[in-house]
């Protein structure tokens, strides 16, 4: 499996954010997108996730499921955590697992992010870091080959960052792909770098 971008361009609000951007991510590889504020890191991830229209160029996931588009084979973790405060932690994860398709293994996924003890707590009581961990649990509960992570370490403590790095390594070992946007290191070695915007 290989994610290939050929000369893609992005426009937001009529303004050109980037143009002629090409890169490729092979299976088992991680791509770290860096760049100053406003250079289009988040936009790039949203384009891959199908949430922003491509203004030019081609984007393809070779060797993937031909029946489904890239978005359906990708996990997108954005700035916000789609967590409903009125539902319990387990209910939140169960819903997303059912909605995104697949056999949910909610308990194992919650254990992987250290939230298993809080499974029955209304998610409204979670801290920002715990909400982020609940978002990450989604990556474990449902298998999708491409992970799109936008500032995944935000609000996470050192231990949770380490756990996330462990999950990412495991995902890469099993042949997954990761595209992450971050200002800092994401805790895994041997990542490819893509720098957006002029230095």
């Amino acid at each position: 499996m290989r994610l290939v971008a050929e000369a893609i361009a992005c426009q937001r609000g009529g303004r050109e954010v980037f143009t002629g951007l090409s890169f490729a991510v092979d299976k088992g590889e991680a791509l770290l997108v860096t760049g100053r504020n406003g250079t289009g890191k988040s936009s790039l991830l949203r384009i891959i996730a199908g949430l922003v229209r491509l203004a030019g160029g081609r984007l393809s996931l070779q060797g993937g499921d031909a029946e489904s588009n890239i978005a359906e084979q990708a996990h997108y973790v954005g700035h916000q955590d789609p967590v409903k405060g009125a539902l319990s932690v387990a209910e939140n994860l169960t819903f997303w697992s059912a909605y995104l398709g697949g056999k949910p293994d909610v308990r194992t996924a919650l254990k992987a992010v250290g939230l298993d003890a809080l499974a029955d707590l209304p998610a409204g009581y979670l801290s920002a870091g715990q909400r982020r961990r609940l978002s990450i649990a989604r990556l474990v509960a449902i298998k999708r080959p491409l992970w799109l992570l936008d500032e995944p370490t935000t609000a996470l403590d050192a231990q949770a960052q380490k756990a996330l790095a462990g999950l990412m390594k495991k995902h890469l070992r099993s042949g997954g792909l990761i595209v992450a946007a971050s200002h800092g290191p994401i805790g895994i070695s041997g990542v490819k770098q893509l720098r957006l915007g002029r230095a």
């Binding site: 199908g50 978005a71 967590v83 409903k84 009125a86 398709g101």
Partner: protein, 222 residues
């Protein structure tokens, strides 16, 4: 569980738990209908005459109430992004949300409408037709409102715009809903023609609403 059902059940559960759904809509309906007699005075004949119209207006306003949060709540916490990356087509996802909205907001109004009809001195033989027209017509209000909710999703304080966008579109539903009830009481036209057109309006909005709402969401989220 399939994604459609999962989304519908989640929305219903949220509506029932947070108190913004079923109970609130029904209470609002009750209060709107209950203050009308104070405004028009204790004229029973007049109340009986305008009763069906008041009940329909109340239902219209009550179903607008929860529409405001239909997509904005999901937009604000990023859920909408994920709803769009699911395997379920967005058109079906918004349909699931609309059904959940109707079941928690529209259906309770239909159920309590016979009770409120008594408050307004609506004739007893019109109570059945009234509930029936609300049952047939409130889904149209939800699905028309769906379009407005999707259009105003990225706006702060979009609730007001939502009302301005949606209310004019609901005029045909209101006309034929009230006409059907009144014709059941007095004539001169029969109940069934107006009722049939009301059903047609509902069916048309169920078909058009999800496509328009999904298009509005795709455009709005860019």
């Amino acid at each position: 569980m399939n994604p459609f059902l999962a989304l519908m059940l989640r929305d219903m559960r949220l509506a029932l738990r947070t108190g913004g759904g079923a109970l609130m809509g029904a209470l609002f309906f009750l209060i709107v209908v209950a203050i009308v007699p104070f405004a028009v005075g204790p004229d029973l004949a007049l109340l009986a005459l305008i009763g069906p119209a008041i009940l329909w207006l109340g239902a219209l306003l009550a179903s607008l109430l929860a529409l405001d949060r239909l997509f904005t709540a999901d937009y604000e916490d990023g859920s909408l992004d994920l709803l769009m990356t699911g395997t379920l087509p967005l058109e079906l996802a918004v349909t699931a949300k609309a059904l959940a909205h109707w079941l928690t907001t529209g259906l309770p109004l239909v159920i309590i409408s016979p009770l409120l009809a008594m408050l307004l001195n609506v004739e007893s033989n019109a109570v059945g037709p009234l509930a029936l027209t609300l049952l047939a017509g409130t889904p149209a209000l939800t699905f028309i409102g769906l379009i407005g909710a999707a259009l105003s999703v990225t706006l702060r304080r979009g609730g007001l715009l939502l009302a301005v966008l949606v209310l004019p579109l609901t005029v045909p539903v209101l006309i034929f809903g009230v006409t059907a009830v009144i014709s059941a009481i007095t004539g001169p036209v029969q109940f069934s023609p107006a009722f049939t057109i009301l059903c047609a309006l509902t069916l048309a909005s169920v078909v058009i609403g999800p496509f328009a709402a999904a298009a509005a969401l795709r455009h709005g989220l860019e």
